[in-house]
């Protein structure tokens, strides 16, 4: 538990963290993730804001977000919805434009990324003044929950292949739980052309190319409890394509 002194120090140091939450059909998860974010930021005392980028979810995610905004206040909860599903990559760009923090945290809203790790991300970032801190499922105490052997094998195999081909200097390429300096994220996003899944991988590969420093924090990844999952053959094909494209172009 943070002492009162460090709480005040965190509040007064001028750093602000903007959390980008892209949502598509996350009506059940959104209140929970927001509640957890408020809890952990409250405990650590860091200044923060939550930016929800909803892409016209048919399940009424936006309506729930509006209720949450009333509960937690519109200085903490910013809603930047878009009319239709335009994809994850552009959702980050859209959210970033409205971010007022000097740091940006990107995470999934489906509860597979737990806000309890954010204070560790922040601590890690300060330790080495890192440009980017990436959560990793593949190192130290990191791991997953709810994965069968097949999925673990695919994940490890895909990651090994990427490590051999790209030598990216980070252990989790496709994870999307990361903290960036805002300027760094802006310059990376400008350069990244991939869509969807591969986007995360391209971000970290380009970061190495531009000599940005990367810190890593082990995270536990718990598969979504609510809502649809969509891991299929399609994703494997697009991963392979993305990997080869990066191999040939970076």
């Amino acid at each position: 538990m943070a002492s009162r002194k460090s709480l005040q120090a965190n509040r007064a140091n001028g750093d602000k963290y903007s959390v980008l939450l892209p949502t598509y059909n996350e009506r059940e998860n959104l209140p929970l993730i927001v509640w957890l974010l408020v809890k952990y930021f409250g405990e650590s005392g860091h200044d923060y804001e939550i930016i929800v980028i909803d892409d016209g979810s048919p399940d009424g995610t936006l309506e729930v977000a509006e209720q949450l905004q009333k509960i937690y206040g519109d200085d903490k909860m910013l809603l930047r919805p878009r009319a239709k599903k335009l994809g994850l990559g552009t959702a980050y760009i859209h959210g970033m434009k409205h971010a007022t923090g000097n740091f940006i945290i990107i995470m999934d809203a489906d509860l597979s990324h737990h806000p309890k790790f954010i204070p560790q991300f922040i601590k890690k970032q300060k330790e080495g003044d890192y440009d980017l801190v990436s959560g990793t499922r593949y190192q130290g105490s990191g791991g997953v929950y709810g994965w069968d052997l097949r999925r673990k094998l695919i994940s490890r195999g895909a990651n090994f292949l990427a490590q051999v081909l790209l030598r990216p200097g980070a252990s989790d390429l496709t994870g999307s739980f990361r903290l960036y300096k805002k300027k760094v994220l802006e310059s990376l996003v400008e350069r990244c052309v991939s869509k969807g899944y591969v986007f995360q991988m391209e971000m970290i590969v380009r970061a190495r190319q531009l000599n940005y420093t990367v810190g890593e924090v082990p995270i536990s990844f718990v598969d979504r409890v609510y809502g649809e999952s969509k891991l299929g053959g399609n994703e494997i094909v697009s991963y392979a394509k993305g990997l080869l494209t990066l191999f040939a172009t970076t």
Binding site: V222, A248, T250
Partner: protein, 92 residues
């Protein structure tokens, strides 16, 4: 330089050295044993890289942490959050 070019460069350098020795291209009249040893080396390398890959991936799959406590902690917190949010007036 792209990763692809780095790989091509590396492979062709190694390939050239190997060909020089295995086929004695420069006619340095190397002892026969050199050639005999050099000849199957690419195959050895390939096989050992394959074994290394399988062993590494296998080991990493076997040691992939199952975060059971993380999951049960999350489930507890979900309950707590729902309760609290209901009190704060959220209609799910």
């Amino acid at each position: 330089m792209t990763k692809l070019l780095q790989w091509l460069l590396g492979v062709s350098l190694l390939g050239a050295v190997w060909a020089l020795v295995a086929f004695d291209l420069l006619e340095l009249s190397l002892p026969r044993t050199y050639r005999e040893v050099a000849w199957p080396i690419p195959l050895y390398l390939l096989v050992s890289f394959g074994c290394y890959s399988l062993a590494t991936v296998g080991y990493r799959v076997a040691t992939f942490n199952d975060c059971n406590e993380a999951a049960s902690e999350l489930h507890e917190q979900i309950k707590e959050a729902k309760e609290d949010l209901r009190k704060k007036g959220l209609k799910m």
